[in-house]
Symmetry: C2
Subunit: 189 residues, 2 copies
């Protein structure tokens, strides 16, 4: 996705330890017009599938997911990162964050993730794939079917794709970062 | 907003203690087509203003905010409910949640809320207005100007509007709930 690639090269910033900051247009401040284009690209990539629900995880996944759901005219459900006591029929799992070096609980209501759902999961980043693993566990518990996972940005050197593909998941990333050494951003052509 | 009013009456559920659950279409599972219509209505209500940035707070505010920002072609920034160590130039404040009976910290980067910003704040609910108060404090600290606040649903019996209007804030709510007693949902015509 050339528009995204150019934007990351222009406005992204690379930091020590494989960190890419895109907080001026993706995950703190957001460019909604870019998010719409991202939604269009997800629709295109998963055009051959029979998805009937978009799923994401709070908070940075919500913007690309709602745009994708809007374009497909499908409901969007987001998993929550702690357990509000108000969630009925909660399904939960534990996710380990490498970035923050801690575990957190992810929760969704079984009312909105059911055996009838064919789920497209959308998120901002694929790194080690830990959040994605947690999502797969929620989907498995619910009896829903995972159709595929779409990420705005993949860090290819952190092996999330390998782990997901080994489990049979179809993965689509709109920008693949191969290297973040020395303050550079190497995006795959 | 008649579409929203009908949807709340159809799919909302009223619980003891003034609780309205709209988690099947607003704040857990979301209807993106309704969110787009909500965005259109916010654009209409704030048409006379000179807003140049949309602001919200994670997580349920993101969907209506991104739709509003998309329609206006304006950047959208969301305040975060805890302090990721990765936020540079953080501005923070403390918000008391009546629902959860606890305080939480709300953080935003001063990189994305500046004295040049004329802010439209969008959120899903206006109840006591505590989150809105916190947002006003962030905006005050940043030197930005608050143009107005738009809420999908206002609970008129919880006095958030009164408090905000006393401070000179323009408040627009797309559905105003006057009563949630006895399992009924009374929405103002």
């Amino acid at each position: 996705m050339e528009l995204l690639r150019k934007r990351i090269l222009q406005d992204g910033r690379s930091f020590e330890g494989g960190i890419l900051k895109v907080d001026s247009f993706i995950n703190h401040q957001m460019d909604p017009v870019l998010m719409k284009s991202i939604g269009v690209e997800f629709v295109r990539r998963f055009a051959s599938t029979d998805v009937n629900k978009v799923m994401t995880i709070e908070a940075s996944g919500i913007a690309p997911a709602i745009m994708t759901g809007y374009l497909l005219d499908l409901p969007v459900v987001f998993a929550k990162k702690k357990s509000p006591r108000t969630i009925r029929n909660a399904i939960s799992t534990t996710v380990h964050s490498f970035t923050k070096d801690r575990d957190y609980e992810v929760v969704i209501s079984a009312d909105f993730l059911t055996p009838q759902d064919r789920v497209l999961f959308i998120d901002d980043f694929l790194a080690y794939g830990n959040a994605a693993l947690g999502v797969m566990d929620l989907i498995r518990q619910s009896g829903a079917k995972l159709v595929g996972m779409g990420f705005i940005i993949e860090k290819s050197f952190q092996d999330g794709r390998k782990m997901l593909e080994e489990q049979g998941v179809r993965v689509e990333s709109l920008a693949i970062i191969d290297n973040l050494s020395d303050g550079r951003i190497a995006i795959r052509e």
